[in-house]
Amino acid sequence: MLAIARQRMLGQSFKKILPAVSVLRSYSSAAKQITVREALNSALDEEMSADPKVFLMGEEVGEYQGAYKITKGLLEKYGPERVLDTPITEAGFTGIGVGAAYYGLKPVVEFMTFNFSMQAIDHIINSAAKSNYMSAGQISVPIVFRGPNGAAAGVGAQHSQCYAAWYASCPGLKVLSPYNSEDARGLLKAAIRDPDPVVFLENELLYGESFPVSDEVLDSSFCLPIGKAKIEREGKDVTITAFSKMVGYALKVSEMLERDGIYAEVINLRSIRPLDRSTINTSVRKTNRLITVEEGFPQHGVGAEICASVVEESFSYLDAPVERIAGADVPMPYAANLERMAVPQVEDIVRAAKRACYRSVPLAATA
């Protein structure tokens, strides 16, 4: 009884902050299906037409229509002055984007994958993230760095790293990671309108997947708040947090667990920095068990931060140790079977959930 009352109260407080949450939850009755690629393309298109200061910059964003076709058609529509094909000089063009942002232009810098952002990370962190602080608010940097992050299929070690944890540890940055089309549209629009540097981590394998969207999502003023996680599916037995592709896995897992009578609550983080600790902790206090799922390396990862946050704030509510599911602690191998082993699979998450709920299966040794 108390639990139900608590749930209703929490529902009310969520409504205060995100009044549209009930609309968004009812996606099953929506009319249209769009792919994540279309969602991103339309978001860029709308933001560029609304504000002439927004411009795109990156390798192959123009004539090639985007390395992953995200920026398709934008060169024809806005011209080469606003959709810039850059030479292969990440450090250089990222710095140029930051310099332009110092003056109030709103660049959207695309990295072909976030692995290449390592060549430009000096500018992302030192010139962009820290500038507002170093200049005491005089110079803000309204820039968006976007691109695919994390593992794709068979691309090897240097193209498969997940950078969520690295960027999320740096103050001054906002780090977002969408899952479905609605997330992609809403978060990208919010990122472009935001006056601070935003790292927007997409996922290559999700680009082609289509998701149903409501009319509200398709409206050109649609925007999601930065810093709020979404509860994709409500449950009462175990909380599963995930972001990007792993949300899809977590939802599949929750369906499988339902057959065994375990009702999992799936949280789509959406915003890695700032992390919505409030939603996570509230959920844990309800379910008393937590599993964090991510694709990146385990040490110092997103799951580690969530675990620490929960232990600090909701320790007495935990009925089982927090389970962290992460990628294997190895550079991504190339062979298909090894790659499958190096990334969390649905079965791993199911096993972890059962361990958290029953503690009947002993912890398997992790790589």
Binding site: G95, G99, S135
Partner: protein, 495 residues
């Protein structure tokens, strides 16, 4: 072409000669000539006129004497060829070592190819000929600056010098801390370039940025407070010595990593072009200056930006403050081809070399380069030969530099040189200049007092300014955005 240029130069530019004539006038003095960068470096392409770069034709013999004044042990001890007769013969070579730009072997080697380069590259120097013709008509005036300009330049350089000296004092008294990099000796570059800018033009610098900020207009009080870490500093004490930012004066930092400021400067120039072409602010002709050192010229970002600036014809001037040393690494030990200005034409922009200890020469080059940028003709690379009188930072024991080299450049102090020029040309009297000295001393003292009396930042300032949109701190345990909690900025709320 080279002959005519040299002829012109005899009339136009009485140089500021310090008591000892510049060692290699062939290379540095005339900014106009130095636009033809490859020519100016090749002694063999000089005509047989008297040495044009020093006002005293008789200085040729003194030049030789000069050359022996010091012999840096670290440089390639190659004789430097002097051209006194016809154009193409290698001539009597003094058996003295070159004080600068070692690897004179390369200079000799280059000379033969330079003539080819001239013809091939004539496109990049066409713009100069107009300026040259203009200057020729002005040559009757024989002076580069008016009295007001002269005093303004003098005051700015003295401010830079006095300020930096005061910084050193304050550092050793413990009022300043961390990394402090002083600009003594390089004032001519900052003054020469920045005093030609408007307020909306921007300057991007490195960690050696105090004087750039001062020249651009940031008050001495604000800079001094920032160095003391007080809340009245230009960045409220949050930036420090290496991170001077000013929105009002368009000083975009202050970057600790070398090479980091160059792409940012290129971006600011890009904004200027974008505003003009896309946002249709038709009269936007803001120029950006990027200042950096010789060590930076080996960094990838430098080349990346030379490429993109030339490719997109951005209104930027890349100013290399070549003081020959990157902490303890000599430029010659670190660079395969030490002539940095040559890297400009490789990317399709003019590369110019100028004597950075001579503020009037720097100013002439700067006028042309900034003018080019404003007219939309694209970027320029300007290499200024200069020297820092102190170590790399106040923590640098400065043991590796030859004292003879230091003495040589100390004798070419830009402030002394300008003073001499002003007095000799009756633009100002000793009394005027002394009055300026005194005024600057007072300004600097007052800045120190102001900084001393200013408060340190309060505790609540720690979390401020991380984001422009403070919702970036996320949601607190009560489900509200943290920034809406009134205790947040007091530092008592949990972050």
């Amino acid at each position: 072409m080279s002959l005519s240029h040299h002829h012109l130069n005899t009339n136009i530019l009485p140089t500021l000669s310090a008591t000892i004539p510049t060692p290699f006038p062939l290379v540095f003095s005339a900014p106009i000539v130095s636009f033809l960068s490859f020519i100016s470096y090749s002694p063999l392409s000089l005509p047989s006129s008297p040495p044009i770069f020093s006002p005293f034709p008789s200085s040729l013999p003194t030049r030789k004497k000069m050359a022996t004044a010091f012999s840096p042990s670290k440089f390639a001890a190659q004789p430097f060829p002097l051209n006194t007769t016809s154009q193409n013969n290698p001539l009597t070579i003094p058996t003295t070592a070159s004080p600068f730009l070692g690897s004179t072997r390369k200079l000799i080697r280059l000379s033969s190819s330079s003539n080819l380069n001239i013809r091939r590259r004539s496109g990049t120097v066409v713009a100069v000929s107009d300026v040259v013709k203009e200057n020729k008509s002005k040559s009757t005036l024989n002076l580069l600056i008016t009295k007001e300009e002269g005093l303004e330049l003098y005051e700015d350089m003295v401010l830079g010098r006095a300020f930096e000296d005061m910084c050193a004092q304050m550092y050793y008294r413990g009022k300043m801390f961390g990394f402090v990099h002083l600009y003594n000796g390089q004032e001519a570059i900052s003054t020469g370039f920045i005093k030609l800018l408007k307020q909306q033009d921007s300057v991007v610098s490195t960690y050696r940025d105090h004087v750039h900020a001062l020249s651009k207009g940031v008050s001495a009080r604000a800079v001094m407070s920032e160095l003391f870490g007080k809340t009245t500093g230009c960045c409220r004490g949050q930036g420090g010595s290496m991170h001077m930012f000013s929105r009002e004066h368009n000083v975009l930092g202050g970057f600790a990593f070398i090479g980091e400021g160059i792409p940012v400067a290129t971006g600011a120039a890009f904004t200027s072009k974008y505003k003009r072409e896309v946002l249709k602010e038709a009269d936007c002709d803001h120029v950006t200056l990027a200042f950096f050192g010789d060590g930076t010229c080996n960094n990838g970002q430098f080349f990346e930006c030379l490429n993109m600036a030339a490719l997109w014809k951005l209104p930027i001037v890349f100013v290399v403050e070549n003081n020959l040393w990157a902490i303890g690494m000599s430029h010659l030990r670190a660079t395969s081809d030490p002539q940095i200005y040559k890297k400009g034409p490789a990317f399709g922009m003019p590369g110019v070399h100028v004597d950075g200890m001579d503020v009037l020469k720097v100013r002439e080059v700067a006028k042309e380069a900034i003018g080019r940028a404003r007219r939309g003709e694209g970027p320029t690379l300007v290499e200024c030969e200069t020297y820092r009188f102190r170590g790399h930072s106040l923590a640098d024991p400065d043991e590796l530099r030859d004292p003879a080299e230091k003495a040589h450049y100390a004798a070419r102090d830009p402030i002394t040189a300008l003073k001499k020029y002003l007095i000799e040309n009756s633009l100002a009297s000793e009394a005027d200049l002394k009055a300026i000295d005194k005024k600057i001393d007072e300004v600097v003292e007052e800045a120190v007092e102001f900084a001393d009396e200013s408060p340190v930042p309060p505790r609540s300032q720690l979390l401020e300014n991380v984001f422009a949109d403070p919702k970036g701190f996320g949601i607190g345990p009560d489900g509200q955005y943290r920034c809406e909690d009134p205790k947040f900025t007091e530092g008592t709320a949990q972050v």
